[in-house]
């Protein structure tokens, strides 16, 4: 087994995702600790992408028709070729929509340990991952053995700027796999036009599962109107069909950067917190004093959100 750290690059619509640079930033000190190199595994991709991967020592690339756009079947097969060719001690993958398809499949197929929802990795005799579990209510230290191992790292665990560097790393061409072709990519679907652009709002009134029923949306809207702001939401509200997808904040929604983010009845699951890292001030209102949102919020009020909305509207009037 080698001593190298392999970052599996992620790209959509022809651009590398920030997660790739975040992983590269995390990979460099780990590779130094292990006494190995920092490698990027690029599936499909372009020469322009290679030129953005200057933070890597080498880029191992598999390129073949059908690998241009993400397709779990083809990409898993290609990732297996990359791992086979580079024999890394540690594979870093984003805990993203793309990474979720890859990480588990590679772990099960290659029978190598995997940690999910990883926030950091240390390399000593064993690789040890820190992970966030149970909706952010527990942190775990996970022994992944001496390697090879896989860590699926959440967005925001590293900073993209650390891993972003122009350059011309050496490219190792890896032979493409044989793929059955049972999954076909047919195109990207752009998000629907939004009625309200929550990324442009200075103040956001954000609602989560704690609102209980659909009437809560109206209550939050009244407060938002009084504040001259917009209503945003966490995933369960959008899945219930109470607000459109364009209002969703978090991992599978939008990343927002308001001056004030007022989180009402939002527990603060890691998937949601990914979307509010850029908020200047977070104020959380929740009836559960143990809600993880209170650890990341600047201000917290343990109270019923309906009472808070009503009182705040009165104060504002």
């Amino acid at each position: 087994m080698g001593r190298d750290v392999l970052v599996l690059a992620e790209h959509l619509g022809g651009s590398l995702g920030d997660i790739t640079f975040e992983l590269l930033g995390l990979a460099r000190p780990l590779a130094d600790e292990l006494g190995g190199s920092c490698l990027v595994g690029l599936i499909g991709g372009s020469d322009a992408m290679v030129g953005q991967l200057g933070a890597a020592d080498k880029v191992a690339r598999v390129d073949a028709p059908g690998l241009e756009d993400f397709n779990p079947e083809g990409w898993i097969a290609a990732a297996r070729e990359l791992i086979g060719a580079t024999e890394p001690a540690l594979v870093l993958i984003g805990h993203t929509s793309v990474g979720m398809d890859l990480a588990g499949a590679l772990s099960a197929a290659l029978q190598i340990p995997l940690a999910s929802s990883v926030t950091g990795v240390t390399a000593g005799e064993h690789l040890v991952a820190s992970a966030t579990l149970y909706g952010g209510k527990m942190n775990a230290e996970i022994d992944l053995g001496p390697g090879p191992a896989i860590a699926a790292v959440i967005s925001g665990a590293g900073t993209a700027d650390t891993g972003r560097a122009a350059g011309s790393p050496e490219v190792i061409a890896v032979a493409p796999p044989t793929v059955q072709g049972r999954v076909r990519f047919e195109g990207l679907v752009q998000p629907e036009a939004a009625d309200v652009d929550i990324t442009a709002s200075e103040v956001l009134v954000a609602i989560g599962r704690g609102i209980g029923d659909q009437d809560g949306v109206e209550v939050a809207q009244e407060l938002a109107d009084a504040l001259g702001s917009a209503v945003a939401a966490s995933r369960p509200i959008v899945d219930a069909g109470w607000l459109p997808k364009s209002r969703q904040v978090g991992k599978s929604g939008l990343k927002v950067t308001p001056k004030v983010y007022l989180a009402l009845g939002i527990s603060g699951a890691p998937e949601h917190l990914e979307g509010i890292k850029g908020a200047s001030t977070v104020i959380a209102v929740n009836t559960d004093p143990a809600a993880p949102i209170f650890r990341v919020a600047d201000y917290g009020l343990v109270a019923d959100l309906y009472d808070v909305c009503e009182e705040l509207v009165e104060i504002l009037e």
Binding site: E73, S116, V189, A240
Partner: protein, 249 residues
């Protein structure tokens, strides 16, 4: 389409969580377990697919507290078969890979076109169930899937990315899909109907081997440190003061 829906129980996060004596896992005796909410989405999508294009829905659950209720509820909602995997209990299985191996062993004895799982669970520490199952069964798996539509011999779906961007994918069954959300809120079924089903229907049982040990080991588990947390506000007036201070009112 013949659809399998493997489900799992997860700790209810509304309740306070307690660690076991080693401090490496939750204490199963102190946890309230409930059906993984994303598995409920997978079941709903499976039932909708069946209603649109025929076939059957079979729900699977590993034995454990509350599992009979999960399976009878699924039957009351319209599932055709409910199979309980017996031998180990859910709380004996450490991680999703060992769980996936039990499900894969059971599924090899069943006929199916699609396996729909919940996209994730709150206890996923070694990968999500769907992709693990896909690899063990030798089938393609697409996660974060929505809008599943059977279309002749293939299945069309959307895979969600960040910011509302999606990919249109087409899959040739058999395949595993990790469901993010069903097209409609999971249906409600009255307790009286579940009771009625309980009296007339039988749960099938399928024995599986003991779980294999996980590939990784939890060294320690603890609630995140509270240091640097929120400044506590006494009341709504104090909250309004913060808003004034930030210049937004």
């Amino acid at each position: 389409m013949h659809i399998l829906v493997p489900t799992k129980q997860v700790p209810d996060l509304v309740e306070e969580l307690f660690l076991d004596d080693d401090g490496t896992a939750l204490d199963p005796d102190e946890c309230d377990y409930k059906l993984n909410e994303f598995d409920d989405q997978a079941l709903e999508e499976a039932l909708l697919l069946k209603e649109q294009s025929g076939g059957t829905v079979t729900v699977l659950a590993l034995d454990g507290d509350g599992v009979n209720k999960v399976l009878y509820t699924a039957l009351a909602k319209g599932a055709d078969r409910a199979i309980k995997l017996t031998g180990p209990e859910y709380t004996d299985v450490q991680g999703n890979l060992p769980l996936a191996k039990l499900y894969a062993a059971a599924m090899k004895r069943l006929d199916y076109d699609l396996v729909l799982t919940g996209v994730q669970g709150v206890d996923d520490r070694d990968g999500q169930l769907g992709p693990l199952l896909g690899a063990l069964l030798g089938l393609p798996c697409v996660c974060v899937a929505t809008g599943i539509e059977a279309d002749g011999d293939t299945v069309a779906l959307h895979k969600e990315y960040a910011g509302g961007l999606m990919a249109s994918l087409r899959v040739t069954p058999p395949a595993v899909l990790g469901i993010q959300a069903a097209r409609q809120t999971p249906r409600y079924v009255a307790v009286s109907k579940v009771r009625q089903v309980q009296q007339t229907a039988t749960l099938e049982e399928l024995e599986v081997d003991d779980p294999t040990p996980p590939l990784s080991k939890v060294l320690a588990m603890a609630p995140p440190e509270t240091g640097g947390g929120a400044t506590t506000l006494a009341d709504v007036d104090a909250l309004a003061d913060v808003l004034r201070d930030k210049g937004v009112i």
